[in-house]
């Protein structure tokens, strides 16, 4: 197990990259503690899989170094880095039994059979695969196959890090819950560093202690799920995390206050900068519909999704989403909105521009 550090990492798939657009990864600096649960989150093509493959050694970066503890592993092949990886589609050795699949990485490293047996059985119990050890792996369901892929990483006690590349893509929603919980449980049990790559914010936020949000080959924000949810540094993070994402509302700034459709919008604290495109960011969870609201709007759509209702309100031409536990309004209803000031922020040119007021 090891601390992982990425130093000035850049990568391009082109032979001689020049402009910034030529790079799939632009200047990544990161340090991950030993035993943590991390997620790389971003849309398709943001560079997260490239970054993952660079850490695992399947790709060599154009520039920069990768360090495991203090060892430079940049030029080491994957099998010498002591890492494990679980892929999007379960990779299993079809002709082998579940047992042989789990034993494979150990046997390749010349571990003696008695130790292999002990390790395989221990992991099989952990993954609840002990009843199917003698079954041919190709006969199992996708979620069990994915467990085998995980198991092949877990059997080795020398792994520095286990990486997951969108491992739940082919799994049913109900089983997704189970498998995700299993993963979480395993992490809490064996405390090996895990890196989880996904485009699905729910998976990233529920799995990781710390999430790295990426866009266009760059890191936009690193933070705990709560930090990312409550105080996104950039509107992209606000939009990308949360379901529905943060409302990003074009506004005017005058006399050190934000104005939206003629209403003064109280913010979390003083405005640091007001040059450039100004927008108010507020999560649907903190949009309140009641008679104290200042902003008039019309309900465009309301969906009761069980645990709460998602209401879309049109304020002029701008759509504002709100989440409410209260009575669900009807389409066409006129409502008044206000925002919880503590959770309302100003963004200029996409970046956060308010400071939190001291309590």
């Amino acid at each position: 197990m090891a601390e992982i550090r990425l130093k000035s990492l850049r990568h391009s798939y082109l032979p001689s990259p020049k402009a910034a657009e030529d790079y799939a990864l632009k200047e990544i600096n990161l340090a991950w503690d030993d035993g943590g649960a991390y997620a790389l989150l971003g849309p398709s093509g943001c560079g997260k899989t490239t970054l993952l493959n660079i850490i695992s050694g399947l790709l060599t970066p154009s520039e920069g170094r990768i360090l495991f503890d203090d060892t430079d592993v940049t030029d080491l092949p994957p099998d010498q880095r002591n890492i494990a990886q679980v892929f999007q589609f379960p990779v299993i050795y079809d002709t082998m039994t579940v047992y042989d699949n789990l034993a494979f990485p150990l046997r390749n490293r010349g571990v003696d059979e008695a130790q292999v047996d002990a390790r395989v059985r221990e992991i099989a119990v952990m993954l609840e695969l002990e009843d199917s050890l003698r079954t041919r792996a190709s006969h199992l369901t996708p979620d069990s196959k994915q467990k085998i892929s995980m198991g092949r990483g877990l059997v080795r006690d020398d792994v520095n890090v286990i990486m997951f590349d969108e491992p739940l893509t082919v799994i049913d929603p109900e089983l997704k819950w189970k498998l995700r919980s299993k993963l979480k449980e395993l992490h809490q049990k064996i405390a090996v560093t895990m890196i989880y790559v996904t485009h699905d914010q729910t998976e990233a936020l529920t799995f990781a202690d710390q999430v790295v949000v990426m866009q266009d080959g760059e890191i936009v924000q690193i933070g705990t799920p709560v930090e990312l949810f409550e105080r996104p540094q950039h509107t992209f993070v606000g939009h990308f995390i949360g379901s529905p994402g943060m409302n990003i509302l074009p506004c005017e700034v005058a006399q050190n206050a934000a104005w939206f459709h003629g209403c003064n919008i109280p913010l979390e604290g003083p405005i640091k900068s007001k040059d450039g495109r100004t927008e108010i960011g507020v999560r649907p969870e903190f949009v309140i519909m009641d008679d104290n609201g200042c902003i008039p709007g019309t309900v465009r759509k309301a969906a009761d999704i069980g645990r709460h209702a998602v209401v879309e309100v049109m304020v002029g031409n701008t759509q504002v989403s709100a989440i409410t536990d209260g009575p669900v309004p009807e389409r066409g209803d006129d409502v008044y909105l206000r925002f919880d000031p503590e959770q309302t922020r100003l963004y200029t040119d996409g970046w956060i521009a308010t400071e939190r007021a001291l309590p």
Binding site: L58, P77, P78, Q85, Q88, V91, Y93, N108, S149, R152
Partner: protein, 286 residues
């Protein structure tokens, strides 16, 4: 609205007729000949299973069958591994892929009798490029019209040259369908090249290799044109394969009864071996 009807069968009818005319009816004619004796004049007499007994007991048949089996298993033993090795060595991506594929397909595009004649001329000691090279440059005494061993080697090399690419193309198709993740996982699991081949590539190629073996078995077991144009079955009877012998009996001696019985036995062997092989290979998939 019209409902689905049985009209589809009409479209299958021409195929049924075609199969009837070029397979079923000739087959029945052969069955008919195989149980009768003729003395010309279109006079036929019932002979029961007599011809079958004669054939199965005849040493000439045993010898031809032996040669046939030897030929088939030798070329399978060479072409299948060789084809897999070439497929493994071929590039999976980039500019050279289509070049390799076209090069591989070339031998298969040449008509069979041309292949036979080509190799015949190629290997003749006096005028053939290979024959001249072996005899006069390397000083090897090589003459396939005189030496049975040389004839055999030539036939086998010719078949390998002609048909290995079929195995290559099929195996290659199997290989390119393996997702990258498998290779990456194997790298991470620390698998050796041999393990990658044994546990990933070979299992994924199994289906296409089954088909390759079946095709090559049936084709080589029934092979006629190429060895006939190359050696004519000689020197002596040394390369007289079953099919060549069959034609000799049927057309050379005009023994229709024995020839018919022999073709039915021949047919039965091909069918039985193919069926047995296919069943064994696909058994554990259920």
């Amino acid at each position: 609205m019209k409902t689905e009807n049985q009209r589809g069968w009409l479209f299958v009818l021409p195929v049924l007729l075609l199969v009837a005319f070029n397979a079923l009816i000739p087959l029945m004619t052969v069955v008919n000949y195989s149980v009768q004796e003729t003395f010309g004049n279109n006079q036929f007499f019932w002979h029961g299973l007599g011809w079958f007994e004669d054939i199965l007991r005849s040493e000439r048949f045993h010898a031809a069958l032996g040669r046939q089996l030897f030929f088939t298993f030798t070329i399978l033993a060479i072409e299948i591994p060789l084809g897999v090795i070439i497929a493994l060595a071929m590039p999976r991506k980039g500019f050279w892929v289509p070049v390799c594929l076209v090069l591989m397909a070339l031998p298969m595009l040449i008509p069979w009798n041309v292949v036979g004649s080509m190799w015949n001329i190629f290997t003749l000691p006096e005028i053939g490029l290979l024959g001249y090279f072996l005899n006069d440059v390397l000083g090897v005494n090589y003459d396939m019209t005189q030496q049975p061993v040389a004839a055999w080697i030539t036939i086998i090399v010719m078949d390998v040259w002609h048909w290995t690419s079929l195995v290559v193309l099929l195996a290659y198709a199997g290989l390119v369908s393996i997702p990258d993740a498998y290779y990456q996982a194997a790298k991470i699991d620390g698998a050796s090249n041999w393990s990658v081949f044994r546990y990933i590539q070979l299992p994924k190629m199994k289906r296409v290799l089954t088909i390759a073996i079946l095709l090559r078995f049936m084709d080589s077991f029934n092979i006629y044109t190429e060895p006939f144009t190359l050696t004519g079955g000689g020197p002596g009877n040394s390369t007289t394969l079953l099919s060549i012998d069959l034609v000799k009996i049927a057309l050379g001696q005009f023994d229709l009864g024995p020839a018919a019985a022999m073709s039915l036995i021949y047919f039965a062997i091909t069918l039985a071996v193919s069926w047995l092989f296919y069943t064994l290979m696909t058994k554990d998939e259920q």
